[in-house]
């Protein structure tokens, strides 16, 4: 008796979840709400279309399977591939949302003090998976499956197919929860977790390029079709396919489906029992893991371990002490934030991809200046929010700057230097990679490119500082808050495109004026530096006037009462 959840408790939990959703909904502006509504509608439409497609496929394949044993086997494999793909997406899509929004979810840590059995907590944790957005996407597919089966076989197929849909859905929810939780607890080490996230994102970028790569491979090997048709390839494929069919959840689901379509009910029940076993297994592991996560090693994820120092002397010895402190602090917080890492590695990564896809003569055909100007564009586009959000990462720590006797100019200079170092390091990495994987550079190109980079950097620094001071509300990319209004960033984008036009302008002027382009670029750099100096003074004064506003904006809790 004591193990059961009371109706009162269930009601309270339901109310709580409802209130959290309601509060989250009342927070953003009407425009964002419309965005969400349109997004949901589009997703819903897409999911229904997919459901329709699956339903029709079941009908077509079901009819085809009746033509003979070979056709039936082929249809079995096709279902396996289809359901396997579909299951994999279902399983892994929660990983993309690994930054969980704790304002929307029932946090088990907070529920642990109440008289709920662990069984109920686990059930809550799992069943809320049924209403997560990515799960909603798959329901039309399951409905399509059921409808297709019923259309082919008749209403006798309804019961087994509904059981199949239920089991298949639950298996995926249970195992995807288990997957996310085990990743979370294996990756409890913060650095590991962030790096893994980075690799995941990069992996997705690579996946997006995979079809192009395959296409190229196929073009290079014109006889791939005859290779695929050779019987040896098929013989190699059938064994793993049969194993998958017999033991994996999508295999069992496709056995059930083809069993229903062909009226072999013993196969249906066998396969459904198998699916049920997968569910039980997932439940067992999931519960054990959850209990471990929440009661045996709580706070594991919070424990930040410091890395061993691998340098001993101070790398910034040439700077005044206070300036060096600020620069180091800024670089440290940048290197510890996911967004900082992502910004840092994105452009070098894209350069590598460019090299991978531009084979042989094509690679040499791209003029190096174009490569570098695009790299500069990418570097500043990706890190623009960091430039326009200089104080956002400080949070409560910003108070320290105000208590201390640090002059405003020092603080701003330190922050600018840190950003400059960050971007220059990224640019150096790009340069290095270019030299390694593309060609050697002509020194004139190098000079021009470096001057162009410096010009844009100095321009963006002044601009970003001004925006950071005028619009200090931090940009929080952690999904929980949409705080900074987009206006300042849009403004910054426009100014950035003006700055990025300068190198092109230099080229044009050089062409018509018969002057070396680096000379003109150096002239631009001088102008930008001069205006930065003036702007810097203005920023310092503005900062003095605005510093309390900044403090208030960056320390206030998320808006939206």
């Amino acid at each position: 008796m004591a193990e059961l959840i009371l109706p009162q408790q269930l009601k309270s939990l339901f109310q709580l979840q409802f209130r959290l959703l309601q509060r989250a909904w009342s927070q953003p502006s009407a425009l964002q709400k419309w965005g969400v509504v349109v997004g949901l509608l589009v997703t819903g439409g897409l999911a229904s279309v997919l459901g329709w497609v699956i339903g029709s496929l079941v009908v077509i394949l079901g009819l085809y399977a009746r033509e003979g044993p070979f056709q039936a086997q082929l249809v079995g494999y096709l279902f396996l591939v289809l359901l396997g793909l579909f299951g994999l997406i279902w399983l892994f899509s929660p990983l993309l949302f690994a930054l969980q929004n704790d304002n929307l979810h029932l946090d088990l840590n907070k529920l642990l003090i109440y008289p709920l059995s662990f069984q109920s907590l686990y059930a809550l944790h799992t069943l809320t998976g049924l209403i997560e957005p990515w799960s909603l996407f798959f329901y039309p597919l399951l409905i399509g499956l059921i409808c297709g089966g019923v259309l082919v076989v008749g209403s006798s197929a309804l019961a087994p197919l509904m059981i199949l849909a239920l089991l298949f859905g639950l298996v995926h929810i249970v195992w995807s929860r288990l997957l996310v939780n085990s990743l979370n607890s294996f990756l409890a080490h913060r650095r590991l977790r962030e790096s893994a996230m980075l690799f995941l994102l990069l992996g997705i970028v690579v996946l997006a390029f995979l079809p192009a790569l395959l296409g190229q491979q196929i073009e290079n090997n014109p006889d791939w079709q005859s290779w695929l048709k050779s019987p040896a390839v098929w013989a190699q494929l059938t064994l793993p396919l049969n194993l998958l069919l017999a033991f994996s959840p999508p295999g069992m689901a496709s056995l059930t489906l083809s069993g229903v379509l062909q009226g072999q009910y013993s196969q249906v029940y066998q396969a459904e029992v198998g699916l049920f076993l997968w569910l039980v297994l997932g439940n067992y592991f999931g519960k054990t893991l959850l209990r471990y996560m929440y009661t045996a090693s709580p706070g594991l994820a919070e424990q930040a371990k410091t890395a061993p120092r691998w340098w001993t002397s101070d790398p910034l010895f040439f700077l005044p002490y206070d300036l060096a402190l600020i620069v180091k602090k800024e670089l440290r917080s940048l290197s510890r934030s996911v967004i900082g890492k992502l910004c840092f590695f994105l452009t070098p990564f894209l350069l590598v991809i460019l090299r991978v896809f531009a084979f042989g003569p094509v690679a040499h055909a791209i003029p190096p200046t174009a490569v570098f100007l695009s790299a500069i564009t990418y570097i500043f586009m990706t890190s623009l929010f960091l430039f326009c959000n200089l104080f956002g990462l400080d949070g409560q720590g910003f108070k320290l700057y105000l208590y201390g006797s640090l002059p405003a100019a020092r603080l701003l200079l330190g922050k600018q230097l840190a950003m400059a170092l960050f971007c220059s390091a990224e640019f150096l990495l790009v340069l290095y990679l270019y030299l390694v994987i593309f060609n050697p550079l002509h020194w004139e190109t190098l000079l021009f490119v470096v001057l162009a980079f410096a010009t844009v950097l100095v321009g963006v620094l002044g601009l970003g500082t001004l925006i950071s001071i005028r619009f200090p509300t931090p940009l929080d990319l952690n999904q929980t808050r949409y705080r900074q209004s987009a206006t300042p960033v849009l403004l910054a984008f426009q100014m950035l495109s003006l700055l990025l036009a300068l190198p092109a302008l230099a080229q044009v002027l050089a062409h018509f004026g018969q002057q070396p382009r680096s000379l003109i670029m150096a002239f631009f750099l001088g102008c930008v530096c001069l205006s930065h100096k003036l702007l810097f003074q203005f920023c310092t004064e503005l900062f003095q006037a605005q510093k309390l506003v900044i403090l208030e904006k960056i320390t206030q809790p998320a808006q939206g009462q």
Partner: protein, 279 residues
Amino acid sequence: MPCYLPCYTRAMFNSDDPTSANAPAIEIQGLCRNFGEFEAVRELTLSVPQGAFFGFLGPNGAGKSTTLKMLTGLLQPDKGQIQILGEDIWQTPAKVKRWIGVVPENMSLFERLTAPEYLEFVAGMYGLDASTARSRSQELLDLMQLSAKSETLLADFSHGMKKKTALAAALIHSPRILFLDEPFEGVDPVSARTLRELLQSLTARNVTVFLTSHILETVEKFCNYLGIIHKGQLLTQGPLQEVLHRINGSMPLGTASLEDAFIRLIGHEREHSDLSWLS
């Protein structure tokens, strides 16, 4: 005394009431907990009688919160037995958790709720019906002087107000034992006085209070039982006067305060420099 007390009866979960009325409220045997290599709590053995106002005292990082988490079912012990009113909390957690009220270290509030909404949620979690929940939460908010803030989200409360809300939530189901982790940290003196009176009147009616603190005055003023923990080890425990007497030994009572006793027990390791640069 606040008028609130008479209506505060132990009405719910009567069927689950602990079997032995004279079992100690909390009985701990050889409790251990490590974090990796680090021993946060070592071989803790402790007994708290029903109706005691127990102060668990120790410097920062001594292992107080770790112990309290193990007592309330939030952190699994590596070794050892915990009996709450004669029941093992790790065997029958759902049952035991009904008898206890907890203010955990981080308070565990749902910050996107208002105080009345939160209290009603907690009441529901303990199985109270809606009307009882509403009236009790109103009373508790009045007592904590938070009724004027009933529209504000907990996220926008000050630290002390959050503490008071968490305390109110721990009281709402009329628990037999209260576990409070640093309950008065950040609470203003007026509220602290009200709370102290409330807690003391509760102990007079056989409710046990287990309170951790690193502040000596709190413990000295509030508690009649005392345990001192340092680096995960229980140094001493027992009724307040007895402990004081034991530590201070021959010193005449009255001249030696708890602070002296505490410093004598713990502070002898001071080996740091005298920070002469702090002009």
